[in-house]
């Protein structure tokens, strides 16, 4: 929090200094209709919505476990993560300022990410090898985030299809999180093979995750100009740079600690594909026609 105060203070100081040096802005000249061909696309604000699916990968920085083995290796019960397997989704408000091929885009996003891991335990009898009991925990994390990305884009191509590449930063605020733990036991010791599936444990887990994290964004996409609106296909890779687990409340949920669960320190990488539609905010007259296309 102290770091945050420091940054806010810096921003305020910069703003103040900038105000001291601000000159009068020259009157914009590009607003004169018909002066230049295709002026509509040379400088423009675009606002729109987009959405689509995403897949996530948890990258383990440091592993934690409630269960501490006393006569076998910890690696035998270490969490096994499934990467890019559980489908999530996102919805984005895209606010983009375009100028001569380059864009700065602010894209507040509601993101639902899911990832899963399993733990396996086994107990055997040294005297009788057939006395065997196995247990498997399958733990699904469902997390809702509000992403606040700032992305720079470079657009190229001509006519209607305009590919772009993009890169930027994002910060994320945790909105909600849930965990679902499925417990499967297999008893080989009681006279047969008996598989027992317990009722899943479903718990709110917001406290177990970091309130904020951040990362980098890279990606590419296509804009398709359809009349005055722009259809958008967007591929983004979000590379998490900070821990998404709460270090303070790692074992804050007694129900999960009771089944031996403790979140690792993990960073979350996400692949997101979105389609959407962007609308121009400048050079429009009634009937949604652009001024430069008269």
């Amino acid at each position: 929090m102290k770091r945050l105060y420091f940054v806010v203070l810096c921003l305020l100081m910069i703003t103040g200094l900038n105000a001291q040096h601000r000159n009068k802005r020259p009157k914009l000249s590009f607003n004169k209709s018909g002066k230049e061909k295709d002026i509509f696309l040379k400088k423009q604000w675009w606002v729109g919505l987009k959405g689509g699916p995403n897949l996530s990968k948890a990258v383990v920085e440091q592993t934690y476990s409630v269960v501490a083995p006393t006569n076998y290796e910890l690696s035998e019960i270490t969490k096994q993560y499934k990467h890019y397997k559980n489908l999530g989704g996102q919805a984005t408000l895209d606010i983009t300022f375009y100028f001569r091929g380059f864009s700065a885009s602010f894209q507040p996003t509601y993101r639902h990410s899911r990832f899963e891991y399993t733990n396996n335990y086994e107990w055997t009898s040294a005297a009788e090898g057939s006395r065997l009991f196995q247990m498997k925990y399958t733990q699904l994390q469902k997390i809702d985030y509000l992403d606040l990305p700032l992305v720079a884009k470079y657009e190229f191509g001509i006519d209607r299809i305009r590919p772009f590449i993009q890169a930027g930063l994002y910060t994320t605020k945790l909105l909600n999180a849930n965990k679902i733990v499925e417990v499967t036991k297999t008893d080989f010791a009681s006279g047969g093979v008996n598989e027992i599936v317990d009722d899943p444990i479903i718990v709110g887990a917001t406290d177990l995750f970091a309130k904020n994290h951040w990362g980098f964004i890279a990606g590419a996409g296509l804009n398709y100009n359809l009349g005055n609106v722009r259809l958008n296909l967007d591929f983004q890779y979000k590379y998490g740079m900070s821990n998404i687990a709460s270090t303070k409340n790692r074992q804050g949920n007694d129900r999960l600690a009771g089944v031996g669960d403790s979140l690792d320190n993990i960073k979350l990488n996400t692949i997101a594909i979105s389609v959407g539609c962007l609308f121009p905010m400048r050079f429009l007259e009634s009937g949604f026609k652009s001024l430069d296309k008269k």
Binding site: L4, F6, V7, V8, C10, L11, I14, L17, N18, H21, R22, N23, V66, V67, A68, P69, T70, N71, Y72, I77, Y121, E122, W123, T124, S125, A126, R131, F133, M135, L150, L169, Y170, T171, V183, K185, A189, A210, K211, N212, H213, W214, M241, S242, N243, I244, A245, T247, K248, N249, R250, Q251, G252, D254, R255, A257, G258, V259, G260, S262, N265
Partner: protein
């Protein structure tokens, strides 16, 4: 000039702002609060913790019983680090069995009593801060039941003499294993029935009685054991046999004290069981110099129906936010470890907290920690069937949150 750099300054500031959003990392968090379950992959292994104590390196020593073939439970010592991670263990030679609480600090070491499987005599075992055994002293008293530190750097031992069929309280010098004692009869003519029940207490699967022992200020000692057919809290001065200064009788073996912690003078934080029911006495003046009329039934107390019948109860005292707090811990019907926090001054309940879900949990003991938090050890049944040692550590802040 500055204007030319302004966009870049904004970008740098934005990057700093975003980086400031990262979760704060601090190893202290992992030390303040944790849960640990110590698992063995042995199908037939079973561990039942008796006591936990913090070591000078802020780690933890756990004294536990372990399942052995035969009548008696083995001795198991576990060392965990300050984060609750496993460090070492000792499966003590099966010649020594039936460890009893508490783990008693003296000098740089910890001490506990257990029993020699052949002679049934007590043994005083000392372990260092790493959990390694550094010495064993022979004690001639048989069938050790309970122990506690005394006021003069010795130990108080409650034991059972099956030859004379007497309950024995003694003080033990850690160097020699010897010391004075007083003994108390089981009851003329009824010894056989009571003795059968007492001996079953020492078997792995027999009913466990809440034996305990200690010293009040001065030369007065107390024990919770059998005297005259009845589980009784007896106050005595060491020396003569069958001589007590005060006694609070239970209901044969169906009622009595399940825990008692001296506060000051004749005041105790205690718990009582009576034909299955449990009563909590956070701050009770007990009669230590006469035969209390009515025995345990005259004590009253708060009922806790959530406790299992004739529950195992442990208690400890701590000062939190300038209040003297009595913490009771016990096994609940929901198969959890329950903690109840009482204000000693007002004799009132402030809050409660429960540990363990999904699998059953049972209390071992509860203790305060060097950082002002609490640590609770117990047994959990992994997969609902394998008894394993568990530790819950809660921070000073969480402990304070329990104190209203």
């Amino acid at each position: 000039m500055l204007k030319n750099f302004t966009p870049y300054i904004y970008i740098v500031a934005f990057i700093l702002f975003i980086a400031a959003c990262a979760e704060e990392e601090n190893p202290k968090f992992d030390k303040d609060n944790f849960t640990s379950i110590f698992d063995s992959n042995g199908f037939d292994s079973a561990y039942y913790p008796i006591d936990i104590k913090q070591t000078v390196d802020e780690g933890y020593l756990v004294l536990a019983k372990r399942k052995l073939e035969g009548e008696f439970a083995g001795v198991y010592i576990l060392k965990a680090n300050k984060f609750g991670n496993f460090e070492s263990q000792i499966n003590v030679d099966p010649q020594l069995v039936n460890p009893i609480g508490t783990l008693m600090p003296l000098g740089e070491n910890f001490y506990f009593f257990c029993m020699d499987v052949a002679s049934k005599e007590a043994r005083l075992v000392s372990i260092n801060q790493s959990g390694s055994i550094v010495g064993t002293v022979n004690v001639t008293y048989t069938y050790p039941c309970a122990s506690a530190p005394s006021k003069d750097n010795k130990f108080v031992l409650l034991s059972y003499n099956n030859g004379d069929k007497r309950t024995v309280i003694s003080t033990i010098d850690p160097a020699t294993g010897a010391g004075p004692n007083s003994s108390f009869r089981l009851g003329v003519g009824g010894e056989d029935k009571i003795e059968e029940d007492i001996l079953k207490h020492f078997f792995q699967y027999g009913r466990k009685f809440p034996f305990f022992v200690g010293q009040l200020s001065g030369d007065t000692y107390y024990f919770n054991g059998f005297y005259d057919y009845t589980l009784s809290l007896v106050f005595t001065r060491m020396g003569a046999s069958d001589q007590f200064t005060g006694i609070i009788q239970g209901q044969h073996e169906d009622g009595g004290f399940s825990a008692a912690l001296p506060l000051s003078g004749n005041r105790f934080a205690a718990s009582v069981f009576n034909f299955g029911d449990n009563y909590i006495l956070p701050n009770k003046t007990l009669e230590t110099t006469s035969n209390a009329p009515g025995g345990i039934t005259g004590l009253g107390g708060f009922t806790l129906p959530e406790l299992v019948s004739n529950a195992n109860v442990r208690n400890t005292q701590a000062t939190v936010k300038e209040k003297s707090v009595i913490i009771f811990a016990g096994d609940t019907k929901a198969k959890q470890i329950g903690l109840w926090f009482y204000d000693e001054a007002s004799n009132s309940l402030m809050s409660s907290r429960y540990f363990g879900f999904s699998n059953p949990f049972e209390i071992g003991n509860v203790s305060t920690t060097l950082d002002g938090g609490l640590v609770i050890c117990g047994t959990t049944y992994m997969a609902g069937r394998f008894p394993r040692i568990c530790i819950f550590k809660i921070s000073k802040q969480e402990f304070e949150n329990q104190v209203k």
